[in-house]
């Protein structure tokens, strides 16, 4: 049985990675068609010369960074508070927001902004996208932080209090430094989720703030896309590195190494 599982697992991993690998290989293809013609870096250079693409990429970056910073801060504070005192209402809301289909979140935020804009003279734009991203990424941050706090020894905080630090000082000097790998992991996760979002972003972005996923979507829809392959490889590479880093951080020294 073990052998069967091993063979099956290899096939499964192949299934998971093949499409991406194919995409990667063909990003170097010197032809628009799916027939190998020759090796070239053409598409990659083309990506960097496409101003619309670069602008979209910049937008995506700005949005992701802003949403990540804000979401991580709010989420860390909220996660910490939830660890101290359970608030089922908030926890359940967060998990519900995680499971809510993106389309529902998207149109609800669209409706919300449209309603608000009757009273404020604002339009859909980067700011609405950032707010939207914060709202749906918050749950991810809280989950990661809570998972990390589960392995945190409360005696460490009590020791801090015992030695003369106030609750806030304990939080700053003891809890946060020890939580830092988890916070960074949450931030990386948040960035990835935000950078990749299409559905919600497309609904609340308005006219002038195209993001990279929106451009990729349009290209994918059209079917003709010499640069999409190259772009995809680059994005996958960068995000992949981020995620690996996040995973490393999450598992790093959450348990103190035992010494005899």
């Amino acid at each position: 049985m073990k052998r069967f599982l091993a063979v099956y697992a290899s096939a499964a991993y192949l299934f998971l990675y093949l499409p991406l690998a194919v995409l990667g290989v063909f990003s170097f293809n010197d032809s628009k068609l799916a027939i190998w013609r020759g090796f070239t870096f053409n598409r990659y250079t083309r990506v960097f010369h496409d101003s619309a693409l670069l602008e979209a990429a910049t937008n995506s970056l700005i949005i992701a960074v802003a949403a990540t910073v804000i979401s991580t801060v709010i989420g860390t504070l909220a996660g910490y508070a939830l660890w101290k005192k359970r608030l089922p209402l908030l926890t359940n809301s967060l998990y519900l927001s995680l499971l809510t289909p993106e389309i529902v979140t998207g149109i609800s935020l669209l409706a919300f902004f449209e309603w608000i804009f009757r009273y404020l003279r604002v339009q859909l734009g980067m700011h609405t996208v950032i707010l939207a991203h914060i709202s749906f990424s918050l749950a991810y941050v809280v989950i990661v932080i809570l998972a990390r706090l589960r392995t945190f020894d409360p005696a460490l905080e009590e020791a801090g209090l015992d030695l003369g630090a106030t609750e806030w000082q304990v939080f700053r000097r003891i809890t946060i430094p020890l939580l830092l790998p988890g916070i960074l992991a949450a931030a990386l996760l948040c960035f990835t989720v935000s950078f990749d979002d299409y559905v919600i972003t497309s609904l609340v972005a308005g006219v002038n703030s195209e993001t990279l996923p929106m451009v990729i979507y349009a290209m994918a829809r059209r079917g003709v896309s010499p640069e999409v392959n190259a772009l995809s490889v680059m994005i996958t590479g960068v995000l992949g590195v981020f995620i690996l880093l996040a995973g490393r951080l999450e598992q790093s020294s959450s348990r103190p190494r035992r010494h005899t």
Binding site: A34, S93, I216
Partner: protein
């Protein structure tokens, strides 16, 4: 090692501090999650405006339209596709999760390798399948090149492609909870079963499956619900021909500009999600 949260004392300073910590998160949830949903509910009870948007009078007309044959067909298709995708994910994911759970030292590495594609880009991964499956895609080009077919096979833009896309997209979500469940399984139990004369398949059926029920339920939940509300996959892989609820909602809010109807459809989808969650008795904390 896991710890219980320590006993709290409620001094005024600490209550203020706690409120300060919770307030932003609660505000975001309230303002950007609940209020929008309330607004959607309100919109579903209004009439469509001339240029999109909504206007009075209040009416339940959208809801009555919902249950006509067209929407019913879309709803049924969504449920069917989501169910099939979930079932396939379970069948494909279970052996994989079992393998990882038994792989000893390499557990984390193998698990991360499964999760990695999921976290990179859903859009890109969907596009990758389009690249493989479309008429001018890799598979058809290869088949034509070796003269196995004369015309490209319609691999894309149908329900099958949508299911494939969904399975590919959400398989890691099935594997993770399954793994968590199977990892907790004491290998001694399987040894005991073998010792008592059970074949590997019997052991699987009588020992492993019942004990990993929690993981199976969690995995099915985490796949079924996103599949039910899928938008991107049916849109790209289905080419607009395979319409699921998500596509309908998006369409109503953009092209068709019938917000009340779209709102009603979205709420119904949401209600379905909540129903499934409640039916399986899950509360938020159990998922992590």
């Amino acid at each position: 090692m896991s710890y219980e949260s320590p006993t709290r004392i409620n001094s005024p300073v600490r209550i203020r501090l706690r409120a300060f910590f919770i307030a932003p998160g609660a505000a975001v949830m309230g303002l950007f999650f609940f209020v929008p949903l309330l607004i959607v509910f309100a919109y579903s009870m209004l009439t469509r405006g001339p240029y999109g948007g909504v206007m009075p009078p209040w009416t339940a007309e959208s809801y009555s339209r919902i249950f006509d044959s067209l929407y019913g067909e879309i709803l049924w298709r969504s449920v069917w596709i989501a169910s099939v995708s979930t079932a396939i994910c379970l069948l494909l994911g279970f052996p994989l999760a079992l393998y990882i759970a038994r792989s000893g030292r390499h557990k984390f590495l193998l698990l991360n390798l499964v999760m990695l594609p999921f976290w990179t880009s859903f859009l890109i991964r969907t596009y990758a399948w389009m690249f493989l499956l479309r008429d001018t895609g890799l598979i058809n080009s290869a088949l034509e090149a070796v003269h196995l077919v004369r015309q490209p096979l319609p691999l894309l833009f149908n329900s099958g492609a949508v299911i494939l896309g969904l399975v590919y997209g959400y398989l890691p979500f099935m594997v993770l909870p399954l793994y968590a469940s199977l990892e907790k399984l004491d290998p001694a139990l399987l040894d005991a079963a073998e010792d008592l004369g059970a074949s590997p398949w019997v052991a699987l059926h009588r020992v492993v499956l019942p004990l990993s029920k929690a993981g199976i339920v969690a995995g099915c939940l985490l796949v079924f619900i996103p599949c039910l509300g899928a938008y991107l996959t049916p849109d790209l892989m289905g080419g607009g021909k395979t319409v699921m609820v998500g596509n309908l909602v998006q369409n109503q809010f953009t092209t068709a500009r019938d917000w009340p109807f779209g709102a009603a459809a979205a709420l119904l989808l949401m209600a379905l999600v909540v129903l499934v969650l409640w039916a399986l008795g899950r509360r938020g904390e159990d998922l992590v």
